[in-house]
Symmetry: C2
């Protein structure tokens, strides 16, 4: 199929969810976001968030999201049960569970809020990077299908740097959906999980690795995020500690104007 | 009551849980860990983790924990339902919910694992600090009862530094239970939430603030943690971004020998 300007974006196709009653929705994995085995974790996280975002009782915008990858997600249909566990005046707490054939594949919790104006300060600073337009895009390996849906321009710690040991696991890149798509919370969620495993960079080789838990803190509300449009995001990630088969990683996602859109943390299994 | 060497530690008293069947346990808040309103969030987080740790089906050690403070915890009894949502060969995923009178007060998810030997590297470095013994302990304000259960020795960003605006929200301190207690996963969990809100330090004043979601990544297994004994932990935290009534904070907890015990992240509500 030739994709035309009027066809739905592959991300929106992947996020299609059909209500099946009482806060439960059904969906299916799509080939566009396939990883080596099963779907890209970022699309699973974005789908979990979408189930809450589209729930009729939803209040406000997401402030935090934690997604636990409990087991492999098989290619095919899934069911998501999104339950508002507690709704307060300005905050709402969610417990979300994805099942396939009655078996839990993914769990999540989220906090939504009606955000109010307050004192504002960004204490961390964005990484130094040339303009996105001046950096060459990287084409991912053929067997990692989901990467073809992103325009990735590595500033530091790119795929070609997985070559010999290094002491620093930092990767910094400009990234946006390809084809371009206006950034929203599900799109931003998927970007938070788009970094390849930091252990590849430290060890200079690929190895078995997979995210077990991902947490995102959103620093923008829907209106501010809409103002970002489909510009590239400056994304940077590094690890803190590797040991006993797990490592953690922290990331920042910056808008072009120096606005911190989200901070994200995850813990990954690895074998090396 | 005079506490003697043979009486139970106040932390263990606060973590007492009684099985009431089918993975559900009951407990009650204790005056020792009272905050200004309700209990200290760290003790609630430690209690949620304990419900999974003591569950008869528990596999391995905690790797990650996310606790969502859905609403105020009232002084008095509570019920915790800890449910292993999926158990794999070497990992186990948990969904945990605390209720009071049938109303959800706190939710959590956790990942446990049988950890295996692997390549090890700590990429971040501990903050510079003099030995714990050479730093004066700080006595917290009388009205924050839970602080009396900790020996806190501030190296940077202490309570007396909440005095005029600053550009950096970093607090670094040596901290341990008081009376001393051998560190375990619940004890470490509580320490991860022991930092006062970063906004106090940036703004130089106290203001309404409370954690809405806390995530901890554990970098040690039970045996390694047991080796720490009751030594003080070098703890450091700083914020990334404040805006629209929420800010996030990241922390590291170090053992005396330069072992990274845990990294922790949280998002807090604030009003200023």
């Amino acid at each position: 199929m030739t994709r035309t300007a009027t066809s739905a974006h592959p991300l929106d196709v992947a996020l299609e969810l059909e209500p099946v009653g009482d806060g439960t929705v059904s969906g299916r994995t799509t080939a566009d976001y396939a990883n080596m085995v099963g779907p890209f974790g970022g699309i699973t996280a974005a789908t979990m968030l979408s189930a809450a975002l589209r729930h009729p009782e939803r209040l406000g915008d997401p402030v935090s999201l934690t997604v636990n990858f409990a087991g492999p997600v098989a290619d095919g249909p899934f069911t998501i049960d999104a339950r508002p566990t507690r709704t307060n005046n300005s905050t709402q707490h969610w417990t979300i569970e994805m099942t396939q054939d009655g078996v839990v594949a993914t769990t999540a919790t989220a906090v939504f809020a009606l955000r109010r104006d307050s004192w504002t300060s960004t204490e961390v600073t964005p990484p130094t990077a040339p303009a996105a337009e001046s950096v060459e895009p990287t084409v991912g390996p053929e067997f990692i299908r989901w990467m073809r849906n992103y325009d990735m321009r590595f500033v530091d710690g790119g795929l070609t740097d997985i070559d010999g040991e290094r002491g620093d696991s930092t990767t910094t890149l400009w990234i946006r959906d390809s084809p371009a798509r206006a950034l929203d919370f599900p799109g931003l969620t998927a970007l938070c999980d788009s970094f390849y495993p930091r252990v590849f960079l430290r060890r200079g080789q690929m190895c078995p690795a997979g995210t077990v838990s991902l947490t995102i803190y959103f620093h923008v509300d829907a209106d501010t995020l809409a103002g970002h449009g489909d510009d590239a995001v400056l994304a940077t990630a590094r690890a803190q500690h590797f040991g006993r088969s797990y490592f953690d990683q922290s990331a920042e996602l910056w808008g072009r104007d120096g606005a911190l859109l989200a901070t994200s943390h995850q813990v990954m299994y690895f074998k090396v």
